[in-house]
Symmetry: C2
Subunit: 331 residues, 2 copies
């Protein structure tokens, strides 16, 4: 037990952004958050999301700042601010143009998923029946993402595509928000094979705190979550682990509907939900928002993680990964 403040980095959030949320991040001691700027947005639409963020940086500059490097995160921590790191949950912002990879990196994107649930131009999503692996353009995109320092995120991709991405990428990749499939058998959660390969390649897993990714959903206990984390540390090594809460605070249910359906279907797809539970599920009582990372840290201590390991999982591993990942590849 220590009173020394712990670096807290969240590997994924998509809130309805507001001063209330930014103040909660500040009060919760969150020094960096990877935020989603695109699910289905094409390049021009993603640019509009970035413009909205640039306005927020001006309006709420005492609480948030752009996060483009590990150094930005350290500066945010020192100043008591939250560094906002942009990412896309799909490859839609690069459309069919490999040149847009450097462009979105120039605009601050540091993570991009190769596919979101469905087949994309680059890879297969986790809800497709067939997983045909990384496509021709996918191989090119991986090489280009490696070159410029845009992290490959396979959170919503299917297993073969993910294993191939790990294999093809010259730099470690991330699964920013998911859990082990053998703890909770959601299609979004990851098999031991995938997690082992991810760990061996120096990649990162961010543990999701989204109820649909948790054993017993909204009733999941903190102890069950932390025991799962301990087993995953045995599988992957504690240095490969972080948090990716998948918090979607203050969002109306129309947003989860849009995440699932975008513009690709005229039917309603319920994704991880169901017709009976179509909206955002209620958060488990021990993690409702940015004030609750301390409770997660305590839960990790309680299942036997050392203080040093807790600090790694809560933020230091992500910071080390940012350091290795966000810059251009050595020539």
């Amino acid at each position: 037990m220590t009173e020394r403040p712990c670096l807290i980095i969240d590997g994924l959030q998509y809130a309805k952004w507001s001063e209330r949320i930014f103040r909660e991040m500040h009060d919760g001691g969150v020094s960096a958050v990877h935020v989603t700027v695109s699910y289905w947005e094409d390049f021009r639409e993603a640019v509009e999301r970035l413009i909205e963020w640039n306005r927020r940086f001006e309006t709420h500059g005492e609480l948030i700042m752009p996060g483009r490097t590990a150094e930005d995160v350290r500066r945010a921590q020192a100043q008591g601010k939250t560094a906002i790191i942009f990412g896309a949950q799909n490859c839609s912002p690069i459309e069919d143009d490999i040149g847009l990879i450097q462009v979105v990196h120039d605009l601050g994107l540091r993570f991009m998923q190769l596919s979101y649930n469905n087949q994309s131009l680059l890879a297969t999503g986790c809800y497709e029946r067939e997983d045909s692996g990384i496509t021709r353009m996918g191989r090119e995109a991986i090489r280009e993402m490696n070159r410029v320092g845009l992290v490959i995120d396979m959170s919503h991709s299917a297993a073969r595509s993910t294993l191939e991405a790990i294999e093809l990428s010259q730099r470690p990749i991330a699964i920013t928000h998911a859990n082990p499939h053998d703890w909770h058998a959601a299609l979004r959660n990851k098999s031991p094979d995938v997690l082992r390969a991810l760990g061996e390649s120096g990649g990162m897993l961010g543990f999701s705190l989204y109820p649909h990714h948790l054993k017993d959903g909204s009733d999941c206990t903190l102890r069950s979550f932390c025991e799962m984390a301990a087993r995953t540390a045995d599988l992957m090594g504690v240095e490969r682990l972080g948090i990716g809460s998948d918090l979607c605070q203050d969002q109306p249910n129309s947003v989860v509907e849009w995440m699932r359906n975008g513009t690709w279907t005229k039917s309603l797809d319920y994704g991880e939900g169901s017709a009976g539970q179509a909206g955002f599920p209620p958060q488990q009582e021990w993690f409702r928002g940015n004030l609750d990372f301390g409770a997660v840290a305590q839960g990790l201590r309680d299942v036997g993680f050392s203080e040093g390991d807790v600090r790694k999982i809560m933020g230091e591993n992500w910071l080390d990964f940012f350091e290795r990942s966000f810059g251009a590849a050595a020539a």
Copy 2:
């Protein structure tokens, strides 16, 4: 006379870019060039031009590199490369969206003209009959350009608009490529009032070497050009002067036609040319390309500029201006 190499910076070029041109820049000792990425291109089209440049940086990395800061220019000089600084000759890349100003700056643009010959959303161009000055959006754009460090360039704007831009801008502006109107009465050249105000505000004039901006056109003598430079130094101060050659090497005449007509007319506008001389005019014999900056420097010495002043005009003034202009405004 000295053998010590002189820093050479060119304040405007729009060549048909090729290894041949880049090698000529290298052989001519040109350490930085402000290149045009947009005349009429909207945001998405300008992004495609940037993507083409990103490819050139990969392909010709031994000759050229991105120029986003004064420090990049110093590094280019030290490495014998040419730093390429992006600029737009019109405000078309920001469309009607003030948020795109920061976006294009993030993508590397460091200069943007508020209007190109015609009325724009921001200002009046030099070929309009009426010059109504800086528009409502123009005032907002100037403030935002000041904030992010995107230089206001009024080369193709009309006089009142230019004087108002100088007055409204909190940071010095540039006229990257033009000459004094009282030396050669082209609509693109600038009145003593404009040049005096530009000088007093700490702005920069890049002397154009484009025949239509020269007294006697393609027959202009180096001596006449350099005497004009000396008189302009008396008017504005030698620290306010640089070169902006407006070189358009290897471009077909279809390009000058497109510069003049864009998509705004179905008629043919001849701009500075005429029906009888519709294409690019022949370059004066003493300045045909990037190998000839040394001749200009010698011409300046020959009309009495000191070695120190020659070095200022050939590049040091631009470098100092870049240092003051390309970063975000102090908070």
